[in-house]
């Protein structure tokens, strides 16, 4: 499809602001102006609407069909939350309003949402306080690691490194490194969880903390989770819980009860806010009592008279990590979602997510290798190594799934499993949908036996076939700045 720049017609106009009601003309000094006139595009409103409508048809979303992308929790995004977030009473408030004298009282609805969300997240995570400021999961991790660093500084601890299991998301080591720590990787064991003995041996007085997901990226719940937290506490280290996989246990088990000190949520995963083609997300961070004083500013508080206000003066705070109060529009959607489910609903979420994942695993075990036996939680990881022997790799199976109408699982992650395919069904998919997916996977497994050659031409049903990523990385065509 042509680029929008290639559709431009000189002299055509789209949406203009109209004539100014102020007649006095005003010119900036020419020395301050751009030397070349602006060159974006010249299109009518209809041109633009058609362009993007047609582009949208080249996308696959949760509303199209099952989006099995593991670790991303691609559940249904309720329409009601979109409606509420776009209402003027929320969408049109300037974030500096509460900082004006007399302005806070005019934003009580929004501040109330933030305050109540904090309370609800505390309850769900078993933590003592939350900051809603982090703008994504990885941003939450960094915030958490900065809180960890601030704690150790205050304690006078000399800490140099953070421990991370080998199956962790790449954001964990990257966040720890950016917060100033060295990263040491703890190997996994044959059960698919972090090796407890190796971990115990690696923990020493210079260990600042450990970053874990539980269940982990293989969908396995670590039975020694409490012991791990105890070990890290024995050297005054802190346990960090990456909430990427909270959909597995939401409503029935809480990281705070496991012994974790810092937790981040991915509201866009667990609480169903739209993933938007790659964002925006939201990554609130919760902490235990001894860490609350380090939380970033600002903090929403409830005054004695029942009104809400924003507090800025907090001596031990790690400071500003983002300009305002977080991705309010995303927080609002998640807030509405939690209100609609309640405690019972959240338990049903995890139950159905777990039933669906185990069902997929159980029905596919005959056809694919599952490196780790037994119960999984919200997602399962298979290895296409059996198919790879015939030359059909995880990526080929992914493309075959596309031709059968499904969004593929996450592939080649976790890296600890060869030919990994990570499937996360979520609770919003029904048995019929999942059966259809399983049938497609079985059909693909059979085709990998009988006709492995046929996979190379897949996908065949998409606007483009397989793309040359090596060329993309070598040629580096990253912008069209004069191509029409």
């Amino acid at each position: 499809m042509k680029l929008i720049f290639e559709k431009s017609q000189k002299g055509r106009t789209g949406i203009l602001p109209g004539e100014s009601d102020i007649k006095e003309s005003f010119e900036l000094d020419s020395s301050l102006m751009r030397s070349e006139p602006l060159d974006l595009c010249e299109l009518s409103e209809l041109d633009v609407v058609r362009h993007f409508t047609n582009l949208s048809k080249k996308n696959f979303g949760v509303d199209d069909n099952f989006y099995s992308l593991g670790s991303c929790t691609m559940k249904y995004n309720p329409k009601v939350t979109e409606l509420i977030a776009s209402c003027g009473g929320f969408a049109n408030i300037h974030p500096l309003m509460p900082q004006l004298r007399g302005g806070g009282i005019l934003t009580q609805g929004a501040l109330g949402v933030l305050y109540e969300m904090d309370l609800m997240l505390r309850e769900i995570a078993g933590m003592d306080a939350f900051t809603l400021q982090p703008l994504a999961g990885a941003h939450g991790e960094l915030t958490g690691m900065m809180i960890m660093a601030a704690y150790h500084k205050k304690q006078g601890n000399h800490k140099t490194h953070v421990l991370v299991p080998d199956s962790a998301h790449g954001t964990n080591p990257a966040s720890a490194a950016i917060a100033g720590y060295d990263v040491k990787v703890v190997p996994g064991n044959e059960d698919g969880v972090m090796d407890l003995d190796a971990f115990r041996e690696m923990v020493n007085e210079e260990t600042a903390g450990v970053m874990l997901t539980c269940p982990n990226t293989l969908g396995i719940f670590n039975p020694h989770i409490k012991e791990i937290c105890d070990i890290i506490h024995s050297v005054d280290g802190l346990a960090y819980y990456d909430g990427a996989n909270l959909n597995a246990i939401t409503g029935r088990a809480r990281p705070g009860d496991f012994g974790f000190d810092i937790v981040h949520f991915n509201l866009h995963k667990t609480f169903a806010t739209p993933h938007g083609g790659g964002g925006p997300g939201s990554g609130p961070v919760g902490v235990v009592e001894k860490l609350t004083k380090f939380l970033p500013i600002s903090v929403v508080v409830k005054r004695n008279d029942g009104t809400y206000a924003v507090e800025y003066d907090r001596e031990d705070s790690i400071g500003y990590i983002a300009p305002f109060y977080g991705n309010f529009g995303i927080i609002l959607r998640a807030y509405v979602y939690i209100l609609m489910l309640g405690a019972k609903g959240l338990r049903r979420v995890s139950e159905n997510a777990v039933v669906n994942a185990n069902y997929i695993k159980s029905r596919l075990e005959e056809y694919y290798d599952f490196p780790y036996k037994g119960l999984c939680k919200h997602e399962c990881v298979l290895s296409a190594s059996r198919q790879a022997k015939n030359g059909v790799h995880a990526i080929d199976i992914a493309k075959a799934l596309i031709d059968r109408g499904f969004h593929p699982p996450t592939i080649y992650f976790p890296t600890t499993v060869p030919e990994a395919m990570m499937i996360e069904p979520t609770e919003t998919e029904s048995k019929e949908t999942i059966d259809a997916f399983i049938d497609a996977m079985i059909d693909i497994a059979k085709q990998a036996e009988t006709n492995p050659e046929s996979f190379k031409a897949m996908p065949k049903t998409t606007p483009v076939s397989r793309l040359d990523e090596t060329k993309a990385a070598k040629v580096l065509d990253l912008a069209c700045t004069g191509c029409e």
């Binding site: 990523e469 993309a472 990385a473």
Partner: protein, 125 residues
Amino acid sequence: MVPQGLYYTDQHEWIKIEDGVGTVGITDHAQQQLGEVTFVELPENGPVDANAELAVLESSKAASDVYAPMAGEVIEVNEALESQPELVNQQCYTDGWICKIKLSDPDAVSNLMDAAAYEAFITNE
């Protein structure tokens, strides 16, 4: 086949020593693991410790650090890789070399594997 006469590290670098200068590259095994190289971040001339990061090789889906097999001073880099990074794949033991190091202690080569030992190493890996 692993060429004779070169020395190898367990990180899959090779080094060829002539007159106290070592030419460094990555092995055929390493380039196969990495896939088609799209970019090479070459080192700057200057001192380097053994096992220190020397260069970064990027493919479209992976990145790999190249470590110095031995200590010394980088005296020359293979500028051809700037425009033809694929040489690392195509001729990893010859035109795909990465840099030359004037070795501070040529005897330290005894810490490295010879061709037979490396061959056994990658078979067992």
